[in-house]
Amino acid sequence: MSAPTDRPEDGTPTPELTPTLELRGVDKSFGAIQVLHGVNLKVYPGQVTALVGDNGAGKSTLIKSIAGIHSIDAGEILFEGRPVSVSGPRDAAALGIEIVYQDLALADNLDVVQNMFLGRERKNGFVLDEVSMEEAARDTLSKLSVRTLKSVRQLVSSLSGGQRQTVAIAKAVLWESKLVVLDEPTAALGVAQTRQVLDLVRRLADTGHAVVFISHNMVDVFEIADRVAALYLGRMAADIPISEVNRSQVIELITAGRSGTIGIAPAEAAAVEV
């Protein structure tokens, strides 16, 4: 885990701070349809960056490109200042990138421990080391003050939506990742469970992780984000400290790509809005 960093209250990174993740001019097309256009993004350690944008703006595509599930057509991905090429979930994990996907990539017929270690099980020779995995899973959950799980040997199919999200997030912490990306972690949750997940996300950043938090909910965004990055039709309209904007400005950025002097240039915005 990266050392806890001071987080200036206004969300401006100290000048010498290297972004954990930086995207430069990332393009991505599916066949003839270009989904991402020259996307730039900086994500800093110890901060929550809210990635916002309308349905279909390209948020999920962007994070799948970071994870190496989609290969990018142009542009650069820098991790801790070094250019990297990520060609799959294993590469991403090796760098210290953990992604909690929108459609929750958990296996229902496996239990909590088995899910947290899926693909990276601890072994004793050839045999799985269940005892040490169970211990580590329990440690991680208690470190995150997760107390809603009855047992770490419960099947994931028996968990509630919030518990599933908690397990997915705890998995990220277990692997001591530097960057945690959460795709709409609260979308399907009720009030109490949303509360739990938001607290958990905040705690992730406070323990030095760089966090990308995708959400459509402005209340959540303004509650926990330090920075906000707004995607508009595949273009990055703004990537700024959240203290520099208010809620209606962010909504304008989402719906029009522009708000006052912030956002993509008027000419470009007009050209995009065919």
Partner: protein
């Protein structure tokens, strides 16, 4: 799902009841079967008869063990019967031309591995649904066997003595030990190793498995290879049992192997089950075949009963899955 659920989604009473039915189905069927056949024939429970049943069930047991691995990953294979038939034609031909048994066994394993890999490549590499791919290869194997047979039955003794029922230690056929070793080994791999865990993950949620960095195609291919090797071994025990290869040898085994797996309680949708359950399913199917003969019931009834039991097991499994979905437990 209510907004403040903390303890997990509630399970409807119907679902709880059905899940109990699912877990008790095999024991109930086994007990019922044993009681009925013991009443119908006094020979049914004799040690001689039971050893005989075990020896005769070896080929189904071997196929069903490998098939379980494939089914756990959400796949299926309907070509195993004719694969056994095709391979045993080669084995019988080799044996009758004086090839040593050990060499013939190696040919059986290689042949099985090749047929398994063919199925594996079609399903894992080309992403053809396994039911379609193996229906295709099944027709292929059947036709190849028919062409090779060419109206000449090929007779042959056992490939190696320990692969027939005759070689015994303390009254226990060695073949039975081979089968048990296969089951024990597969069980340990499935529950205790990383690749075994991957098998369950793939059957439970392929996308999750892929995102966790599991090489799904490689594990699928490995599963087909294991099934192929066991099909090769089953061809040896099959030949030892029937002693002759004909135009449609082995064909009946496909369905019996599938029946053993699903009656055992391994979910046909993948992700849930075990080879030990399959072993229970094999015992049920083998006792059914034997009991019907001993009771003097026309063997026509055998197919009917096997069919009904498959539908019952699959039906209960399907209903459980449906109810889980409805009660908001994500699938």
């Amino acid at each position: 799902m209510s907004a403040v659920t903390v303890t997990g989604p509630s399970r409807s009473p119907a679902l709880v009841a059905l899940e109990r039915v699912q877990s008790l189905l095999l024991p109930a069927l086994l007990i019922g079967e044993v009681i009925v056949f013991a009443l119908l024939s006094s020979r049914f429970l004799s040690a001689d008869n039971l050893v005989n049943v075990a020896v005769n069930a070896a080929d189904i047991a071997l196929i069903a063990a490998g098939l379980t691995v494939v089914v756990l990953m959400g796949g299926i294979d309907v070509s195993t019967g004719y694969a056994v038939g095709l391979i045993s034609w080669f084995l019988a031909t080799l044996m009758s031309s004086g090839t040593p048994g050990a060499l013939t066994l190696i040919v059986a394993l290689i042949g099985g591995a090749l047929l398994g890999l063919l199925n594996g490549l079609l399903t894992a590499r080309l992403s053809i649904p396994s039911i379609v791919a193996t229906l295709g290869t099944s027709a292929l194997f059947q036709t190849a066997l028919f062409a090779l047979w060419n109206r000449r039955d090929v007779f042959s003794g056992p490939v190696l003595p320990f692969l027939s029922g005759s070689e015994r230690a303390a009254g226990v056929p060695l073949m039975l030990l081979v089968v048990l070793v296969v089951y024990a080994a597969l069980h340990l791999v499935l529950v205790g190793t990383r690749v075994g865990r991957s098998v369950f993950a793939i059957g439970s949620n392929v996308e999750a498995a892929r995102l966790a960095g599991i090489d799904v195609r490689r594990v699928r291919l490995l599963g087909s290879l294991v099934l192929g090797l066991l099909v090769g071994l089953a061809a040896c025990t099959y030949l030892a049992r029937v002693g002759v290869v004909q135009a449609s040898s082995g064909g009946e085994l496909s369905l019996l192997a599938i029946a053993s797996v699903v009656v055992g309680g391994t979910s046909i949708l993948g992700g849930e089950g075990s080879v030990l359950r399959t072993l229970g399913g094999v015992v049920f199917i083998a006792l059914l075949e034997n009991g019907i003969v001993l009771a003097g019931v026309p063997s026509l009834w055998n197919g009917l009963l096997v069919g009904c039991v498959i539908l019952l097991a699959v039906g209960v499994n399907g209903a459980v899955v449906l109810l889980r979905r409805r009660s908001g437990v994500a699938e």
